[in-house]
Symmetry: C2
Subunit: 405 residues, 2 copies
């Protein structure tokens, strides 16, 4: 049974304490067996029963929990490269969408792609994420927008779930109104609530149900219908809230008991207060702020108000074309003014809570899944400050090595 | 003699045209011999004399000029990790400097480090930069601030110049006033002008002379003295201008005929106009804006005014702890609203102009040095938009391969 020693610093990221409490342990050891952590602590405290286990060296490096990317749109057709320059030169995200670009452009390309193509592209992205230390990935549908196409995307995620990383599938049929339903948003919401949600749930293809509440997408009332329907079929709510306009999305998240409200660049003070009361995780997405040229989310305000703040990539072909979670974590520090420890906890145990896996992943504690990353850095601060292409030198998930530099 | 074919797109980045004109060539070929480019163009136009050359395949990828990082503080002792959280939590760069942190903290660590240690750390950073496609690196002194310590840093750069990358050494003795001269800035400027500049020039250790004109560093008048003294000894002027406060640095750059004015977050409209008239390159440093939480430079205003805008990392242990030039180029797009083509030209031929090497590197043209990078992307737009750890799969400088994925 493996015992990792020579760990310069290990951070457990246990849930207890504040957002910045990551519980560092110097000169640590980590023992695991059958994919589960058996023991973690300072090497000098290692119980005798582990002394004879097979030692592996971490060469004095930093060990962190396997990272959890709790908000991605992992499988999609094509790219939207051309929108990058359009936005730089002043076209807004909503303008581009109104002109047939944006999400609907990806919907067209996704519908036209084979399931095999969607799966192999997503698998390549997952492999790249493994090299960055990411072991759990939430993945949303939402580029199909028909019963068949939404189920097809969720099936891609089901198949990817046999790969090395844990995939958490989220049904986002209510991503935007598809062209066939233009001007008939309520009728599309009927389809989502009466057919897509029940069928996805019946087949066990989704764990969460998400909706994009935004001026040009769905109203709070429509969002409520979608999330309530999801709950009725056993899907926990999530919500794209208050990204471009402040529209009561955070308040709705609290009302329906969502696991998370995501984006939140424009969240109101009242929304923050409701989220705190209801224990909704705030999922912040710094790439989306950066690529859409919008003011970053007020993460300090959220943290000071007592809301747990996660950090994710929002990986998608339009507004966040990067799966580089550590880079997003550095941007959470620089753009959102989160400390490196707060940022890491936001991509570990708090992100795990946002995907309902806080008892399984996101921290290094006895009994949890043996998911960890070895980082070439002296400390979490040094890791996220000294921005490199990749500082992760080893990734292990469920006790199995999936990357070594 | 090598002939690179199967190039999906090659961008020459020739100096002619506007900032966004990178001159793409589809289905291109590139021939070089003895470290020099002999021919570049569309494969269908390849003259008969090159048909028998040894063909290498670029596998349909993008080929760009070897990148030029035209502003770095490459050799330094220690790091300043602790300042990252301090700034995130609201301490300003100038406050931290006033409390003994900032540049002077690195000066202490650099003076205490051996030349061998400084050299081996810098060499490791250069090797990482090679993997990102960077083939020319400007490197400043400025963490010594005594005659001996400044010369020692320049000697480190001279020794690194025998390595694979071109090093352009800049004397930045006037980086800040050292503790021994606290309150006696003019006396330190005397030392710089009368001893450090002449000695560095006499030994042929520097090509440029730089000064940090800023409220807490040197006045415009002091900056003028330093740059005029440098010119008298054959060192071309450069200037750290208008970073944190608007202090007439850009105007001084124009007055003394500087090759570049760098930073410019707070540049005045008059400063922009003077730079345009004098042909001074604007070197923009998006990492520094990001890490110091300051508003980014108005790059579009500069470009529209007819100033050539370069993009560099500013790699240093405090305000820009990253040597990842392609990340900086993406940030130039998102934060500074430069198009991907403008950003690339800013890290190629315009950066070459900022270091006086525009006849040697920075574009792929017959007669120039065979410095190029092969990038896994369909286009420059796709490369800089789809942010990955590293998209560079091969780097060649002076005809020699220094990196292959």
């Amino acid at each position: 049974m493996p015992l990792l020693t020579d760990i310069g610093t290990l951070v457990t990221c246990a849930a207890s304490g504040g957002q910045g409490d990551i519980t560092p342990v110097r000169d640590a050891a980590l023992a695991w067996e059958g994919g589960r952590i058996r023991w973690v602590g300072a090497l000098k405290d290692l119980p005798a029963e582990y002394h004879a286990w097979d030692r592996e060296s971490a060469a004095g490096q930093l060990v962190v929990p396997g990272l959890v990317d709790c908000h991605t749109h992992l499988a999609f057709g094509g790219w939207r490269t051309e929108e990058f320059s359009q936005r730089i030169l002043g076209h807004s995200y909503l303008d581009i969408a109104a002109a047939g670009g944006g999400i609907l452009s990806t919907v067209r390309k996704t519908r036209a792609a084979s399931g095999e193509e969607l799966g192999s592209r997503a698998a390549a992205h997952l492999a790249a994420m493994a090299r960055l230390g990411v072991t759990t990935v939430e993945a949303k549908s939402g580029y199909g927008l028909t019963l068949d196409d939404e189920l097809r995307l969720l099936q891609v995620y089901r198949d990817l779930g046999t790969g090395p990383q844990r995939i958490v599938p989220t049904l986002l049929a209510a991503h935007t109104v598809p062209p066939e339903y233009r001007g008939r948003g309520d009728a599309y919401v009927d389809l989502v609530c009466e057919q897509i949600i029940p069928e996805a749930a019946r087949r066990g293809l989704a764990r969460f149900c998400d909706v994009f509440v935004e001026e040009k997408s769905f109203s709070v009332e429509q969002g409520r219908r979608v999330l309530v329907a999801g709950k009725r079929h056993g899907l926990r709510p999530k919500i794209h809230a208050d990204q471009i306009t402040s529209g009561g999305g955070a308040e709705l998240a609290a009302e329906v008991g969502a696991a998370s409200a995501d984006h939140l660049e424009q969240v109101s003070n009242q929304g923050i207060e409701r989220m705190r009361e209801a224990g909704v995780v705030a999922v912040t997405l710094p790439f989306a702020s950066l690529y859409l040229h919008v003011a970053p989310v007020r993460a300090r305000r959220l943290i000071e108000a007592g809301v747990a703040v996660a950090v994710a990539t929002d990986f998608n072909p339009g507004s966040a074309p990067s799966y580089h979670l550590p880079f997003a974590m550095t941007l959470a520090c620089t753009l959102q003014r989160m400390t490196p420890a707060e940022s890491l906890k936001g991509a570990a145990i708090i992100a795990a809570r946002a995907v309902g896996l806080e008892d399984e992943v996101g921290s290094l504690e006895s009994g949890k899944s043996a998911d960890f990353a070895v980082i070439e850095a002296e400390s979490v601060d040094q890791w996220l400050y000294h921005l490199r292409d990749n500082a992760c030198v080893r990734t292990v998930t469920q006790g199995r090595e999936i990357w070594r530099a």
